[in-house]
Symmetry: C2
Subunit: 392 residues, 2 copies
Amino acid sequence: MRTMAVIGTGLIGTSVALAVSRRGVTVFLSDRDPAAARTAAALGAGLASAPAAPVDLAVIAVPPSQVGAVLAEAQERGLADSYTDVASVKAEPERAALSRAPDPHRYVGGHPLAGRERSGPLAARADLFRGRNWVLTPSRLSSDVAFDRALELIALCEAVPVVMHSQDHDAAVAVTSHVPHLMASLMAARLREGPADLPSVAGQGLRDATRIAGGDSRLWGDILQANAPAIAGVLKELHTDLSRLVPALDALARPGGSERDLGMRTLVDLLDRGISGLAEIPDARPGSSSEDPCVRVAVADRPGELARLLAAVAELGVAADDACVEGADGTSFAVRFSVPPRIADRLVAALDAGGWDVVREQGGERDGERDGEQGLGGATLAGTVRSGRRPQ
Amino acid sequence: MRTMAVIGTGLIGTSVALAVSRRGVTVFLSDRDPAAARTAAALGAGLASAPAAPVDLAVIAVPPSQVGAVLAEAQERGLADSYTDVASVKAEPERAALSRAPDPHRYVGGHPLAGRERSGPLAARADLFRGRNWVLTPSRLSSDVAFDRALELIALCEAVPVVMHSQDHDAAVAVTSHVPHLMASLMAARLREGPADLPSVAGQGLRDATRIAGGDSRLWGDILQANAPAIAGVLKELHTDLSRLVPALDALARPGGSERDLGMRTLVDLLDRGISGLAEIPDARPGSSSEDPCVRVAVADRPGELARLLAAVAELGVAADDACVEGADGTSFAVRFSVPPRIADRLVAALDAGGWDVVREQGGERDGERDGEQGLGGATLAGTVRSGRRPQ
């Protein structure tokens, strides 16, 4: 791939342009607002001009509702050999491509799972997509050429390709992105009507829980309406969940009420289901996994002795978060660290040398660690399409 | 304050003990589980034994429903001159103290706004409370001695005291903590029933939005039931909000439907109210505020020129996040950086020396910056009770 066009130089479009420009691709930038395209160019993202000949790939980085029209217009003037987009909703753009675009086989839908609360070209980063999933949703008409060009784009951005049906994608993002955004907005909107003391008790938990509500409301309105059927379905389920939860809290609010036990069971059951649901979210934290080996250290039951151990392991980059205490028998503790094999080896060697009573308890194999995946090229392109094959 | 007792050596109790031990206070640790108290002692948090004489202050660090019984028992055996607790609900412990404790005037309720997802003594940190708010809720009987001892504890932990009525506190945390926790649990529980592709599209936004759902379910069940009336009230409001939102999404899901415009207005209105609600949450990010001066730089409209400017300011610790582009007229841009005065001065000097066309546009005064608040002592004790006076 030698030439590319990016239509729409907001956060995502400019970040794509920055990433591929670094790799030697010539990028032609355009935007409804010419100043935004010039800003992106001044950032080093490419040229704010039109290409003289068709480019290899055009990336359409506009709100979901506009993808169809922009794609049709670009194909009518023969802008590129292949086309993709980066909208976070995929079924509606696919429908629009199949019904309106002159060459629907030249188009494959895409959605990089990356973003920031800030928008616009100045917020762009060349490494925005590194290590992130990038979904492709080829339609029944998408050509192999268009699909391969999109894969090449993903590799240039150092992202990880994942292939899905557009409808499956939209059902999944309704649960993982769109409904959480709406719930964050509902909670944040409630803050305006809360008691005066509210800011004094607003901490990091609330900040994290509502952070996604900060996105641009017009862009998000466009995204949410484009996926309205799937979102409405999930919202109705949540509405039903709330209808069950409110009576449980009402029961707990009545002192000495006969239904307190049932209310408490309902509440704890929800909290436990929430905890188990969190396991569906891949952990961003590099380091421990349930298959990691354990390193077991005996610690004398003396003031400060455990602190001395934690300070020793901290020097090796191991946090107390990776530790648990077991079998305190009155004279000593057993402290277990669950860490990746590479670190377990270093930990055992260093603690042994430091005079600690240490054993390695269990081995395990890990896949290549994400931290190490800096390279690009054939292996990334050929080996990491996670779903194994294209859906059709 | 020379001696203290901590009852309950979980995350919060052990963190309190670590913080005050460092300041030379002798801390006596106890826990229902003796191994937990010994673990805290081995971390250097104090002595896992009972004091020979009454201590200056006892800190009760147990779940909300147990504060009343633990306080009564401790006062019966004359453990301390003054008592406080750290439970995240305040009205129920206050009621229990007034009705059951032998010396209710020796007790003042407290709630440090700090926590982690991990629990237990190993997760404790001496600096857990640094710079965080710590609410005190004196009752109509709380003595000045008990209140001042609690203030001293807060100062030793380098936290910021805030005084409230217990009922006001509970109404506020229902909105800022308890309901967000329940909504995060509801959303996380939905992940278990979602489509198979779900983990591939689960990103940082979802992780942040649901992170608080990871807390210990029995402890949180106890917290939530202790504040059930206030939580039930907020949940009912959210239930009503959802009842209005679902029809808006349903309208947007019908192609060409006549109520699409109304649905879109409802949606964007909610998103906008959410954005404005976020302003109620104090910003954790040190650096810019709306009162900061602006530094304006003229940048030639050439490829890479803006990138060169951003690289130059990055060396001074200023991120592109603090910048916005204005007035691109076809030959140059105006880039404005909104940064604290101290940084603005450095920025102007450095850019000027580097040959940039730079002006400082507007001055402003800031309060002492949180970053600089490392000290302790009289100023902190006397000067930062934010509500100005005690509620009674």
